[in-house]
Amino acid sequence: MMILGVGLLALIAVSAFVIVRTDDVTNQLLALGFYGLLFALMFFLFQAPDVALSQITVGAIALPLMFMLAITRMKHHGELKAERKTEKRDE
């Protein structure tokens, strides 16, 4: 039990470093989702089921959802601006 906790904490430390070193934003999102699930497992191991439930719903569902919405909106806005620029050039 203790060895599992120690190993999980080491995995969390490695994951944190991997997240900040990833370049593409979409890849980071996926890494953040995995990181959130690791945390949920850690909360469960350390006898905190309430916080584990919170972390699963927020860290694996709501947080990647928010990021995905923001990235989608940014990409969508970029496409919109490019489209309007070509329209203006056509006029």
Binding site: P49, D50, V51, A52, L53, S54, T57, V58, I61, A62, L65, M66, L69, A70, T72, R73, H76, H77, L80
Partner: protein
């Protein structure tokens, strides 16, 4: 400041912080030995004093209910901030007025197979039911208002994935959503004021405590948990809608 210089400055600062931190935790008790008295006191008394079997939620909504009131208002003001920042600008409003925004003309995409649509719409109902269950049983088992609210708020995304844009738009743009969010936040403060009517300090647990293990037990804990669930669900749904509003209207313009 160039990037290399910024990184060097950060590394110097990080080494300093790490050194001071390591010197500071050298004298902490070993990991796994929790000595403090308050946790044990509350763990032994909460079931008898409040008839609630979930000690963590009893602390969140009763013993330290004032902090939770503050955190809920952080949530409320963050949602207000998102709605302020992402509201359509005047240019956008003028363009939309000339082109017209009619939600009834959203097209249900035919590219997605019907199995996925039917299954996802069925899971939507189950998700909402599960969220309500978690939100109302906070005082008995792990759960409570915050978790239940987030589960309910994540359910409409299933409709978006199933490309049922009309239902998605109708649920999320309902004016009742903003009303529910404001009412949920205000009702928490009102429950605290009820205690003043009984002559007790703000946010005291004055409702009947009931039998341990029932759903309607532990007085104001269950009530506050349900109100927080309503507020969190409405808040997250509003935020989701604000992000997707531009994309939804564009989807509709594409199909004309």
């Amino acid at each position: 400041m160039s990037e290399k210089r910024r990184l060097l400055l950060f590394l110097v600062g990080a080494v300093g912080v790490a050194a001071v931190y390591c010197a500071g935790i050298r004298n902490m008790p070993p990991w796994g030995t929790y000595r403090g008295p308050y946790g044990d006191v509350i763990a032994s008394l909460a079931v008898f004093q409040r008839h609630a079997t979930d000690t963590v939620n009893a602390i969140t909504y009763d013993y330290r209910g004032f902090d939770t009131l503050g955190e809920e208002f952080i949530l409320f003001s963050a949602v207000t901030g998102v709605m302020l920042l992402l509201r359509p600008e005047t240019k956008e409003k003028r363009r939309r007025a000339t082109e017209g925004e009619n939600p009834a003309s959203f097209r249900d995409s035919a590219a997605l197979s019907e199995t996925v649509q039917v299954f996802t719409t069925g899971v939507f109902g189950f998700s909402v039911l599960f969220g309500i269950y978690i939100g109302t049983h906070g005082q008995l088992t792990p759960g409570g208002g915050f978790q239940g609210g987030v589960i309910i708020a994540a359910a409409p995304m299933l409709l978006y994935v199933a490309e049922n844009f009309e239902a998605f738009h109708r649920i999320l743009s309902h004016p009742l959503m903003e009303l529910m969010e404001a009412l949920g936040a205000a009702a928490y403060a009102v429950v605290g004021l009820i205690a003043l009517a009984f002559g007790a300090p703000f946010l005291t647990n004055v409702l009947p405590l009931g039998k341990t293990g029932d759903v309607f037990s532990s007085g104001t804990i269950a009530l506050i948990s349900a109100l927080v669930g309503v507020e969190v669900a409405a808040g997250f749904m509003l935020v989701t809608f604000e992000y997707l509003r531009e994309i939804l209207s564009r989807q509709k313009n594409e199909e004309d």
